[in-house]
Amino acid sequence: MPKTNKNKKELPPTINDFSMTIATMNGSGSQTSNLTLLRALFKMGIPVSGKNLFPSNIQGLPTWYTIRVSKDGYLARRETHEIVVAMNPATFSEDQQKVIPGGVFIYADHINQAITREDILVYPIPAKRLANESSAPANLRDYIANMVYVGVLANLLGIHIDKLEIALKFHFGDKEAPIKMNFDVIETAARWAEENLEDKIPYSVEEMDRAKNCILADGNTASALGAIYGGVQFCSWYPITPATSLAEALTYYLPMLRDDPDTNEKNYAVLQGEDELAAIGMAVGAGWAGLRSMTSTSGPGISLMTEFIGLAYFSEIPVVIWDVTRVGPSTGLPTRTSQGDLSVVYSLGHGDTQHIVLIPSTVKECFEFGWRSFDIAERLQTPVFVLSDLDLGMNQWMTDKFEYPDVDMDRGKVLWEEDFEKFKGKWGRYLDVDGDGIPYRTIPGNNKPGAAYFSRGTGHDEFARYSEDHENWERNMKRLGKKFETARKYLPKPILTGNGKAEVGILAFGSTEPAILEALDLLEIEGISADFLRVRALPLIEDVREFVESHDRIYVVELNQHGQLYQLLRIEFIGIADKLISLTKHDGLPLTANWVLEMMLAKERE
């Protein structure tokens, strides 16, 4: 029986619109339970998003998983917790405080701690006892205890039990034993809840069709799959949270999608380097030798890769670098999300370097930039960064299905033997033949005498000869500048939400999009119309200037301390920079619509 109290605030019934947070211990096996819940809700056609707030730790520290159920399709994190499941004694008291008044607190009844709130619904559940009574072997009982809250929630919320079974089957593949073992516990727990709990909770779920044509995936998997459809041939990488699962997804999916079915031969290689210096070095070498080459890393790895990326910029080598950003500076918060690497990757390297940066916002866009980044890198013969982040990369998102590339691969200005002949001996590796700053390149293996050249990070002339000549140096750097201007036309354009006619504009990039889209609706309720332009690449293109020009006040919203996009805009658009207002948040958590709303309301009502 739930413990009830007279002071409890009765909430109106809410269908398909609440958040629940599950507090467990890292390494306790709760991830399977949480994903099962998320997937079952998704299979009911309800928009869901799941966010894992986890420590930098293998086992023992507290971890929280939040599932947002939103009939309106809002996928951002919320600050309120309608339902909290407490499985971890260490955070029991703190977790209890999180629940909104009138909300629901479910906890494992072996946690012998005081209930101090009188304004919430409290449900102790016999997680340990039901796990011990199950068919699970003794060593798995602690894990399986997490399935008890799945069964209880299924009963209280009305999650279809068959959808939970589908989710388990997906999770365990064709392994029948664990599917049965887990499902038995879910069913037992659901039955126990039916018989023992008085369902007074105001929240429930109902089947709908809003998620029917979507998939549920994480950004890193999508990025890797996109790279595979972009023809990735080489990836050298070094393990680092939160980028590891990107390279591991390559290792998982490449054999399935690319191995020769008859011979098992591979036209690709994925290689774990001894550090990030080697990872980027190998990737640059492969890009130089004509492979579609990439690496994936995060902040500390980016720092180590700096020297090589400067070399690749200057010697004009295509390579794709995924920066799945986490919180810095330094080791920072390795398992929390951030948009703090925008400035650093834009100009990474000593001397006058500048780089192309692609910034996906959705899992589907991770897939798209996965393949498109190779086209851009090879077209422009330069490193291309793709700036994802921990929230986008590692969490499960509801997203549109991946779409097959709508254009052929662009291998850029590459001369193999036949094309090289056409130059009739007048080819120079760094000659600007077409006036766009992009020279023609040959690739090792081209067997025409004269096709080879010597690549270097030192000064060179148009024919790749060593040169310390001042005019040569300046001419070459100016051509690189021209190439960067050319780059703008190959980059994905920003995306406008709204009719473009509002007084107020919002500029943002990356994974904050869901929070801002939701904030637009909340602002509308407060009587404020705003347009939203989502920047998808650096360097910025003309559309961004026009957006700034055509709005009175532009809020630049980002997850870093110094307002890195804001600073960049101020430099690019000096004359109109005073229209820009910086809104930054950098606590390691994904952005919420409510924060955007409150910050903007405060400014607008000043």
Binding site: G231, A269, A452
Partner: protein, 343 residues
């Protein structure tokens, strides 16, 4: 005047590079010349070779040989990673890397050791003079303890022995030579070019400007007086007839077959030496060092370990960089399967 051509119709001139800008008398120039000679004599097509280097005097030298080959002068200490990626681009090409003692044993020790355990097919030459040249005379990690240099005073730290490091990290071909011994350098380079794996050549190459005092172990004089060849060395390319009996009587010769069918024949001199025994090789080198002797020759070889490319199951003859969209982009049908896999 008739110019002699090799079997691929090229003259020695076709293997040359730009004029050297290193100091006159630099041991590195002599090594460059032996690379030219080895490639010419092995009838290699220059377009089928890629040159690599890091940063330093030694790393400048790839400009001075094989003008018709692709080359990459990369970053300080990072030649191994550039070479690894580049050779994946076309694994049918031969790689020649030139590094120095600072580039390998100081800043590049990590990448050096890891390229060894991966067994990348690459001739890895260390032009070893114990000193930094381009920055004008600092000690490198191979400088002997007690060495005096003008700008630096006395070296207090123990030297790193590149051959010992190579053996410790499972290099499959380890040799040492002296730049002044042109014949041995050339034969070792030829053998290294036929080895299907990493081939480390530690070549003592005196710096005439900063480290050529008679008592230095990296000087010409010291080397001429303290060198001891562990064997006579004869490299026989696969196409030549191999005559062993008679010339190399049984019991004192040791023949090693390389992956392309060519052979190295070692004639033992004053010590019983088996270059396929790694532990024995370490012992020999250690013993010689204690006695103040520099062992030269092929110190260790293992022809059984798979090369890096064999571990990756690449197409045998088709370079990866010749693959086209048809081979690289999975079909539209497969994407439906992928979407279904996502849940």
């Amino acid at each position: 005047m008739a110019v002699s051509e090799n079997k691929v119709g090229l003259t020695r001139n076709d293997y040359r590079g730009a004029p050297t800008t290193l100091c006159a008398g630099c041991g590195h120039n002599s090594i460059s010349n032996q690379i030219i000679a080895a490639a010419f004599e092995l009838d290699l097509v220059p377009e089928n070779i890629i040159k690599f280097s890091g940063i330093g005097c030694s790393s400048k030298s790839p400009t001075y040989f094989l003008n018709r080959s692709f080359g990459f002068n990369s970053l300080h200490g990072r030649m191994p990673s550039i070479a690894t990626g580049a050779l994946f681009g076309d694994h049918t090409l031969r790689g020649i890397g030139v590094s120095g003692d600072g580039d390998t044993a100081n800043i590049g020790m990590g990448q050096f050791k890891h390229i060894l355990r991966r067994n990348l097919p690459l001739v890895y030459i260390v032009e070893n003079n114990g000193v930094y040249g381009l920055t004008k005379g600092q000690f490198s990690a191979t400088a002997e303890v007690g060495l005096q240099l003008k700008a630096q005073g006395e070296n207090r730290y123990m030297p790193i022995d590149i051959v010992v490091e190579a053996l410790a990290s499972r290099a499959t071909f380890v040799a040492r030579s002296f730049a002044g011994d042109a014949a041995q350098v050339k034969e070792l380079i030829k053998a290294a070019l036929s080895h299907n794996g990493i081939a480390v050549l530690d070549i003592i190459s005196p710096c005439v400007t900063f480290n050529n005092r008679d008592e230095s172990q990296h000087s010409y004089k010291w080397n001429r007086e303290h060198r001891e060849m562990i064997h006579d060395f004869n490299y026989i390319p696969v196409k030549d007839e191999i005559i062993i009996e008679g010339e190399f009587p049984e019991g004192v010769t040791h023949m090693v077959t390389l992956h392309d069918g060519s052979h190295i024949i070692l004639k033992k001199l004053d010590r019983h030496y088996d270059p396929t025994d790694r532990v024995a090789a370490l012992r020999e080198v250690g013993q010689a060092t204690r006695e103040g002797i520099l062992l030269t020759g092929l110190i260790y070889i293992d022809t059984d370990r798979p090369s890096l490319f064999e571990m990756f199951n690449l197409p045998e003859d088709k370079p990866l960089n010749r693959c086209t969209q048809d081979e690289l982009r999975p079909s539209p049908d497969s994407l439906e399967m992928v979407n279904a896999l996502m849940f």
